[in-house]
Amino acid sequence: SQTIHQWPATLVQPVGSPLSLECTVEGTSNPNLYWYRQAAGRGLQLLFYSVGIGQISSEVPQNLSASRPQDRQFILSSKKLLLSDSGFYLCAWSRSDRRDSPLHFGNGTRLTVT
């Protein structure tokens, strides 16, 4: 069966510090991968999605970036965090061979920028 791992679960970082969040998927090949952000009490904002290694599409221009160095690894990064980067970050995967595949989410990372 497929599983998705996301870490860390919580993170407190000062403004201006770098960020690296990691997500890995097991039990499937060539998944579509997504990063979403959820601000407190808000909806899910699509940040990045990827259909293959090195293929990243950005939905929202900001100081975040994403990379996919391996088929089942997706990394969200920032060189300098802003207060507005605080939120709940969710990684998700879906099957690439079926457009009707649901999204499966990791447990999320709660990021607080101080």
Partner: protein, 112 residues
């Protein structure tokens, strides 16, 4: 790209019914519904692909009006476990990729 949900919040007593609506300004390929408990990841409920399609999951069902670019989620005889935030997720007909956009969310609280 983000669909709009209504209402933003609803409070029900156990056993009451609720309807949550999801509307898109663009033609849709599919609509998904998810429920998120506080502090947890969203959990998939169901997907609707064809216009007019209705699906059920226990006492939770949904419909998809392709022409109106709308979907509705129906919760009947609500239970305490139904509490959470409900999101619709949409895949646009115009996209050949796999972009997936979520609605603004509807907070549902079921009280005894």
């Amino acid at each position: 790209q983000q669909p709009v949900q209504s209402p933003q919040a609803v409070i029900l007593r156990e056993g009451e019914d609720a309807v949550i609506n999801c509307s898109s300004s663009k033609a849709l390929y599919s609509v998904h519904w998810y429920r998120q408990k506080h502090g947890e990841a969203p959990v998939f409920l169901m997907i609707l692909l064809k216009g007019g399609e209705q699906k059920g999951h226990d006492k939770i069902s949904a419909s998809f009006n392709e022409k109106k670019q709308q979907s509705s989620l129906y919760l009947t005889a609500s239970q305490l476990s139904y509490s959470g935030t409900y999101f619709c997720g949409t895949s646009l007909l115009m996209n050949t990729g796999n972009q997936f956009y979520f609605g603004t969310g509807t907070s549902l609280t079921v009280i005894p």
